[in-house]
Symmetry: C2
Amino acid sequence: MPKKTKSKKTKKKKIATRARKPGEAPKNAFYAQSGGVTAVINASACGLIETARKHKNRIGKVYAGRNGIIGALTEDLIDTSKESAATIRGLRHTPSGAFGSCRYKLKSLEQNRREYERLIEVFKAHNIGYFFYNGGGDSADTCLKISQLSETMGYPIKAIHVPKTVDNDLPITDNCPGFGSVAKYIAISTREASFDVASMAKTSTKVFVIEVMGRHAGWIAAAGGLASTDDTPIPIVILFPEVEFDQKKFLAKIDAMVRKHGYCSVVVSEGVHYADGKFLAESGLKDAFGHSQLGGAASVIAGMIQSELGLKNHWAVADYLQRSARHIASKTDVDMAYAMGKAAVQFALKGHNSVMPTIDRISNKPFKWKVGMAPLNKVANVEKMMPDNFISKDGFGITKRCRNYMEPLIKGEDYPPYKNGMPQYVRPKNIAVKKKLDSRFKL
Amino acid sequence: MPKKTKSKKTKKKKIATRARKPGEAPKNAFYAQSGGVTAVINASACGLIETARKHKNRIGKVYAGRNGIIGALTEDLIDTSKESAATIRGLRHTPSGAFGSCRYKLKSLEQNRREYERLIEVFKAHNIGYFFYNGGGDSADTCLKISQLSETMGYPIKAIHVPKTVDNDLPITDNCPGFGSVAKYIAISTREASFDVASMAKTSTKVFVIEVMGRHAGWIAAAGGLASTDDTPIPIVILFPEVEFDQKKFLAKIDAMVRKHGYCSVVVSEGVHYADGKFLAESGLKDAFGHSQLGGAASVIAGMIQSELGLKNHWAVADYLQRSARHIASKTDVDMAYAMGKAAVQFALKGHNSVMPTIDRISNKPFKWKVGMAPLNKVANVEKMMPDNFISKDGFGITKRCRNYMEPLIKGEDYPPYKNGMPQYVRPKNIAVKKKLDSRFKL
């Protein structure tokens, strides 16, 4: 088990804890989920709420934003204290965002100061002293700004960002909770479908294509490479958004793979594009009714393999399945997501502000990690790309270095409970907190 | 545990067992996998080979056809006796066809008698007295013909068909091994993605579309309905191949669902078609390069929802993932698949011929079943359609009757072993049996 205590580095940076004065009501906390949800973002919520419940003398209630930050802006808060311990515990094994998420990016302070002021106003009205924001790069930025503005406005708030994104693109942290489970899903699905196509290849399907998420970076596509291991080698061709698509080179690669192995699998990122930057998925698909077709890099690749090489193929688009597949989540990922939520509360209680808990890798074999801490001004608006040396020389595979990084992240299974063959995911009651402000806020 | 002994009915029909004479070498068996593979067809192979190994005095070796029946025609036999007990045991948790399958339909006896004669010739050369064919309706027909012809040719063979098909379209048997696991995968995936879209619906995606297999019958699409249960209701719209697609009615249904619930999920069968019989998936998709696009009912539906209702949506195509997802196979399905392979050997040893083991449902609550037996002339070329009363009145959902039928089939989990986060599927060595015939056979 990894140690989840703070690192030496964070110890050095430890700032003074402001203890509550006797008789003072403990501040409440606000928690919101932001952006695309994952199989394990609720595990972070679980870690956060369970830890807060252990410190009732310091943290009053945890209010969740209904549909993320929108819930704060519209004063639509959920009282998580109304949820049973069993429901909160159940969040650990429930995919998606249990309180609702949103795609709503706050504008800059200069452009829309009133949004930030409104947040502080709502926090003040509900005696909220802790702001926990569970998201990616954008929400880290929002979190930082709220912390800064709250100081200026004389209502200081401890703002802690909780990392989450399947895109794995946050800096400093070794990886982002959510990524490990997508990676595991894609690796397993690619292995299973490859076994299938291998069985069929003699007389039928010879190429299987799977489209995966990742518009800007090939982290998820790279995970397809984990399907093939020394004890179970599989011919896999990966199309990364980092590598300009070259149709001729690609088709030559497929042709060679099928000649050698009888079949192959292709993992194509939705973000794959031509040299001129045009996405494969935006190849102007229209159906017979003139409806524009939404994306589909896999179908473009499949069409190409069929028409240019004459090879029968099948294609799948994993879409939401990959990021919601809690049934096969990575235990490592679940543990990390939980630890991030827990650490966020611990950091806040120690008086930290404008920080994000991180995952710090200690060693690969055996895999060890611990919780670290990063200042938000180093996190906000910084996108971590996949290192060049994770992609093999020919541009179609992953390197040993990539494998060493990724394999620990998919390790372990953490099955949800089942009833009558179906996973039992929880749905909190999500009871609203009574509004205290007269004003209504227009988004 | 269901009793896997033969039913009373089969007892009555029991025919005389031809005991091996002293000194006579036991006949070998031939086993082949046919058509599209499944998550559990290897579990049938496992049941068959493990059972045969317990009767070495009656059955010599089990030879498998490399790539199905093609392996018999070309005398390319695999000696399964070279595989360790661990490998054979591992087949139970390995998806796909471990010996290779094929899409190769033997012509009728009148059209291509030489193919059937060739099979008998190969069987004779390798002292094969048992023919086990693991497949769907076509292979049941082949199995029947081989049995008949072998009698005529004076080299009688016990021909037993082992049911397998994700399409669930074989008659007499309650269900087909392979179907339960696809159903479970689709039910779980639909539930998980529905949780995801529910989280995002406030500001982003409102409809999730998943395309599933089933060109002629909506068995698999119906399984999407299992995602919603009394304790976890989910707004789901199912598009069955049995119901002519009516765009206006469909869009009105989606609009109503989203108004009421804020979001909904659509499960669309690849076989959905318009009143004139034209598949949605064949709506003449072309990309910017003029490549014809291969299918995609989901993208057609998604485009329609976007352009006509202006609702943001996401779509997935499950394709091979659904039938190879051994990681979340139904335990009931695995048990049944194994039982079918085991029963096939037991039937052969009892002297039965031209039959198929079946799954006979005894009761729903508690779910009980036993192994039965069906004569192949009642199975071959008969396609079982989904009963009308499985589809709800409005054509977009499943009935209680359908649910009662399907729920037991997805019950139980049967996880494969994992190593470093990946399922450990076996690959037999597949060592060839030395050829005995001079002649080569042209397919």
